[in-house]
């Protein structure tokens, strides 16, 4: 994964006091946030009306609203990650309700368009792995799903997962253990035995 954050100037001066500027934050972090959004959302599992661009914009609208409440003792990237998780999970909830209200069937997972994931297009196995993992993740609760994505996919340390989610580190470990067990259960229901399954093995052919 990419190293998150950077030593960048995100501050302007207002009456001698440093203030964070949305433009600067966007300039420095929008690329990273766009990756997080894609990671959190996954390659599909939503209606076609939602795309990563919408979500990225929504994340920064929230950033703009909350800039005043940002406490500088927290890492900006952690704060941004937290907002991304909040926005993506909020949108997932809305989409779920929309599906219930409009009696929409769960859409088939679809990979994002070529421009978004060119590497995936070129590598069927990796695309298949993505489809497989997210098909199981999307059946988990938002909490389990988020924990698994942050820890297993983004490979954030437990302390940083705790900071992003606003929970204690021990809670992260407890939650992660349960989330893994649930992931396995769902995986086995869909694809057979997890530890020996072809479902897991076939990813690497």
């Amino acid at each position: 994964m990419d190293q998150l954050g950077a030593t960048v100037s995100l501050q302007a001066t207002l009456d001698g006091s440093p203030v964070l500027e949305l433009d600067a934050i966007y300039r420095e972090h929008s690329a990273a946030v766009s990756k997080w959004v894609r990671r959190m959302w996954g390659p599909g599992g939503v209606s076609g009306s939602v795309d990563a661009e919408d979500l990225l914009q929504e994340v920064f609208l929230v950033v703009q609203r909350r800039l005043g409440s940002f406490r500088s003792e927290a890492a900006l990237t952690t704060w941004l990650y937290g907002i991304t998780v909040f926005v993506v999970n909020g949108r997932r909830k809305k989409e779920r309700w929309r599906r219930v209200l409009w009696r929409r069937a769960e859409p088939e997972l679809q990979l994002e368009h070529d421009r978004a994931l060119p590497a995936v297009q070129q590598d069927f196995e990796r695309a298949e792995a993505s489809r497989l993992v997210y098909s199981v993740l999307n059946e988990l609760s938002d909490r389990d799903r988020t924990l698994m994505i942050l820890f297993e996919l983004e490979r954030l340390p437990g302390a940083e997962v705790a900071a992003v989610l606003g929970i204690s580190e021990p809670n992260v470990w407890v939650g992660l253990t349960r989330a893994r067990a649930r992931f396995k259960k769902v995986f086995e229901r869909r694809y057979g035995d997890f530890e020996t399954s072809e479902g897991a093995d076939h990813v690497h052919g």
Partner: protein
Amino acid sequence: MSMVEPLSPWAEGTHDDEPLERQLSRLFGAVPAPQAMPDATRQRIALGLRTRSARGARLMLLRLVAVGIIIGVAGAAAAQWASSRLFGSQRELVTARSPVVVADPPRAPRAQALPEATAPAIELAPPERVASAALAPSPAPLQSSRLGLEAASLEAALSVLRAGGTEHAARALQALDRHLQDFPRGALELEARVARVDALLLLGRRQDARRELSALPIENVGRKNELRLIRAELRADDDCRSALGDFQVLVDQRLPAAWAERALFGRGACLLKLGDQAGAQRDFNRYLAQFPSGRFAAQIRAQQPQ
């Protein structure tokens, strides 16, 4: 320049000794890392962000204004409704028990325009009572809010008015004027202005009362039929044409007998003044049929052609 602490990647040792974790590691490790959006896309989003945030700020402001207006209107309406229920019901109740006759009854519409022989010397019925003057003491209002203070101020003025008499009416009028200055556009403004009409009538200031009444949206007041009747009787002094409109509305409604009697007689008197002798005669005949021993019956009979 600030240092932004980077999030470091997971590097807390391997867990591959556990079968579950090993499998998870294999599975998740095969998932490709997402790529960042191209610069052009992010620039387009940045542009949209500026537009949306500006629009969002305007929308937020509009929402706040709209919510404020709705809350204000609803609050005022609720307060008005509550006050009209409170004061109105007390008025009705006590008026029925202890009527107070207005000191200076309205004059009859002048009949000099009519032929001597047919112009009856009929006087318009005076308003039976000044409703506010008959108000019973109401419970002490809460004074912890602006509305409570406003209600307390109005109650003080009304209590003076209730005492009746010219002297008290003058003091009540002063108190009501002060109240209206202290609480301009207050929730109980209508009630205060209605009480002011009552005070003016008690003082015999018919023109002032008429002006005040003409400016009142009486449709929004609990005593609208009573006020319409008073307004019609005041207008009948010199403007029977506009008074007729009010009398007409009242005659067509189901009213308490005392009001129905005044409205019917008032319409007949105005029709007579306007030269519609046949119409006036019909109303007077109807009056005698409905109220044979009514307060104006003797006057009408005295004017009837022998």
